[in-house]
Amino acid sequence: MAAATHAAAPQRDLKRFAWPIGYVAVILFLFFLYFQILPSLVKPVSAPVLAWLPVATINECLMWAIMALGLNVVVGYAGLLDLGYVAFWALGGYTAGWLMAFPFNWSWDFHLLSPVKATTPGTHINFWLVCIAAGILCSILGLFIGAPTLRLRGDYLALVTLGFGEVITQFFRNSGDIAGFNLANGDPGIGPIDPIGTGPLGAAGIAPPLLTNSAAGNVWKILVLGLLVGICIFVSLRIREGRLGRAWLALREDELAASMMGVPLVRVKLLAYAVGAFFGGIGGVANASAITTAVSPSGFDFGKSVLVLLMVVLGGMGNVWGVTIGAFLLSWLNSNGLKQIGVQIDSFAGTDLAASLPRYNYVILGLLLVLMMLFRREGLIPESRTKALMSMPSRTEAESLGADSLEAEAETDAVEHSDAKADAKIAHSADVMAGAASAPSPSPRREDES
């Protein structure tokens, strides 16, 4: 790639770095906002910001974003409806419970690059290693869940995943006594889980050595969780451009056609589950270590699966940025937004809504969903492909009105609104994949200039 030198190369290289630079800037801005800017401002200015968007909520949003990005791989890319995503979340959390927490049933002590005191009892392994371990463990579970669902479609697939999500919670609830062995301490769960360590930064006194749920620790967590979300976004975007990503999209659009064209259905489906589960595992560890500091079965209810799915659907299925925005919006609404809106109305109207408004959480989410389905089915920031599909009238509608004219109209619409540059990019990467070694890469087509 580096050897290829044509006119558009420098421009394209810059474009390639556009989003990472933007993303890093946003995360750094958030970090400095809470680390430096807000504490130095006068209270009337900083208080509303802290009230509407506390640091803890930002961290929660970032954690949900990891989850939504993981589910987006399964639902948005591969089109496999998963109603039990919380299963991976739980397993990730429990991996953290097993590998980086106080003991609950065994007495050996094991430390590996852990930031906690060496005298602390229990198994304590470094956060990053646990993340990888949880990711791998969850991928394996993903394959297990994926395997029996390979032959299923649509509703049946959703039901099986729903079952898995419910089963795993019950499994952990009863895990205090599996044939006499205490595997995961049953309902009380495991806690406290080690905070994330900052290693050299902590040793140098720049950051707190342990990122606990303190004010200082939470500000630094923005960077750690931001990095994890960044990795997930990067992987999501790159994988979509590659062979696997395109296979997923083909599978989503038409399974039968995809298999006819030689997409290996079994492998592609299983990989979708495995990759999605990997993200879920990382998110589970992040949640357990940075957000809740403990895991228990009651934390992994069906409601969480639904909320993640809503984030994906409302944000824009298959669009990484849409999903991230959706995750931020809904998790903010869920954890702090509604309460704060209540506080706001109270200060206007003298009502007492701060405690009661969050009770209407699901009513509001439901309304939001209905409105979105009426006016913007493809989500907040839709994927271009989905948008084109959605704007096509359904067959029955078309037949009643004269199919040919409508379809033609929709197609010309889609062509007119399609992004020529993006098409060219995809075509180009396809050429590169197809055999960049043998043929010199053709310069991208310039449809926009024709």
């Binding site: 303190s214 809740t292 009770r359």
Partner: protein, 425 residues
């Protein structure tokens, strides 16, 4: 189409209304930046304001506010204001671990806040206490009125209680006795007063339920009651007929429900009566304080004659004892037109009294407030000042209360009625 344009207008209107509220500025939550006078301090409550426990929590908040007003909002030289936190989410209808963790962060971040009255659920306290414990300006004090899980203050499960106090100093106290006493008292009462011979122990497979059920089973055996069987009940089950058939076959003359009413307790009580007959009949029904303070349970016909234990004194007893507590209950009645839900609200005030006393003796810093309770001579509220009508004494080494009151109640005429005071050896 007019219908469609109407929906559009409605939708736009809703969105406009929402965005208007969102654009408003000047929020009221003061996350202090330390530029106010140190004589103004904040204490907070941390309770589940959604779901089944909401009414109890609301009563607790109101009663504490009433008490604060009655002492002029002062503790020593400090002006005290109350801030309420919600540790539940609507989606779950109960306490939520993420909400608890977030509250712990907020308590620490709110610089004027010196102590927390709460939590209602032991599981939530186990998440919050380590965070409060590691506060750099603290540790920050938490005094609970309802956390009965023994592990928070004494050796119970592996690693407890040390693992909740990473800094090595304690910062958690409570004004209520623990589950192990509750199980012991219930077993003694069942054996001596009800002449129970065979008990069947059910639990909801959650932390609290398992704890009380275990304590009851152990003590039942000591009191000569045979435990003929035990089982978990599943909160999601539509009915428990099969479960009670098994109880019937075992020949038990008493059923113990270790758990909380929120976990489908209503159905459990109904089916018990349907299969095993009324509670004042051959098979008695016994439940711990996880079933107290629920108006829904008291409304049930089937709950008549059910025994409840409460790890403290009930409202009736406190009202009868006269003094500060009785006056407070009367004031509440006049202001809100009803009595507070359950017996926890008054214990909430008792915990608040401990906090206020500690603040009065301290220099106004978190560390100092905590030291007053868990260090030195500890806190003692004399009987004539205490809302419980008797001395409240907190052990400075563990944070446990010296009081070992256990009340046996029976549900009669749709009310929790005092049956007997059970002393615990």
């Amino acid at each position: 189409m007019p219908a469609r344009s109407l929906t559009r207008i409605v939708a736009l209107g809703a969105i406009a209304a929402l965005s208007l509220t969102a654009c408003a500025n000047g929020a009221d939550t003061g996350t202090g930046t330390g530029d106010s006078a140190p004589t103004d301090l904040v204490i907070s409550t941390d309770l589940p304001l959604q779901g089944a426990s909401a009414s109890t929590s609301e009563s607790t908040n109101n009663l504490i506010q009433l008490y604060l007003d009655s002492v002029g909002g002062k503790a020593g030289n400090y002006n005290i204001t109350l801030k309420t936190y919600d540790d539940s989410t609507a989606a779950k209808g109960a306490w939520d671990d993420a909400a608890c963790a977030k509250n712990a962060t907020d308590h620490v971040a709110n610089t004027n806040e010196v102590a927390i009255m709460g939590t209602y659920n032991s599981g939530c306290a186990k998440i919050e206490v380590p965070t409060l414990n590691q506060d750099s300006t603290g540790p920050m004090l938490m005094v609970s009125h309802a956390n009965t899980n023994p592990g928070l203050t004494k050796t119970w499960d592996v690693g407890e209680p040390e693992k909740y106090y990473p800094s090595g100093t304690r910062n958690f106290a409570r004004v209520i006795t623990t589950d192990d006493y509750q199980g012991a008292g219930a077993a003694a009462f069942a054996s001596a007063d009800l002449k129970v011979k065979k008990a069947y122990v059910l639990d909801d497979n959650q932390t609290y339920g398992l704890g009380v059920a275990k304590a009851f089973s152990d003590n039942a055996v000591k009191n000569g009651i045979e435990v003929v069987g035990s089982a978990h009940w599943d909160a999601k089950q539509p009915n428990y007929t099969a479960l009670y058939q098994a109880v019937k076959a075992s020949g038990a003359d008493m059923v113990y429900l270790g758990g909380i009413y929120d976990n489908n307790g209503g159905q459990l009580v109904k089916d018990k009566v349907a299969v095993l007959g009324p509670n004042d009949g051959a098979v008695k029904l016994f439940a711990p304080d996880g079933f107290t303070g629920y108006p829904d349970l008291l409304k049930l016909d089937e709950s008549k004659g059910m025994y409840l234990t409460f790890a403290g004194l009930t409202q009736d007893q406190l009202a009868a004892a006269g003094g500060v507590g009785a006056k407070l209950l009367t004031d509440y009645q006049t202001k809100y037109g009803k009595a507070p839900d359950g017996s926890y609200p008054l214990y909430g005030v008792a915990a608040t009294q401990v906090i206020l006393d500690a603040i009065a003796k301290s220099d106004g810093s978190r560390k100092s407030v905590t030291e007053q309770v868990l260090g030195g001579a500890g806190i003692t509220i004399p009987a004539d000042k205490s809302v419980l009508g008797k001395e409240i004494k907190i052990d400075p080494t563990t944070g446990d209360t010296s009081a070992k009151d256990l009340t046996i109640e029976i549900i009669k005429d749709g009310k929790e009625t005092f049956e007997k005071s059970q002393s615990i050896s």
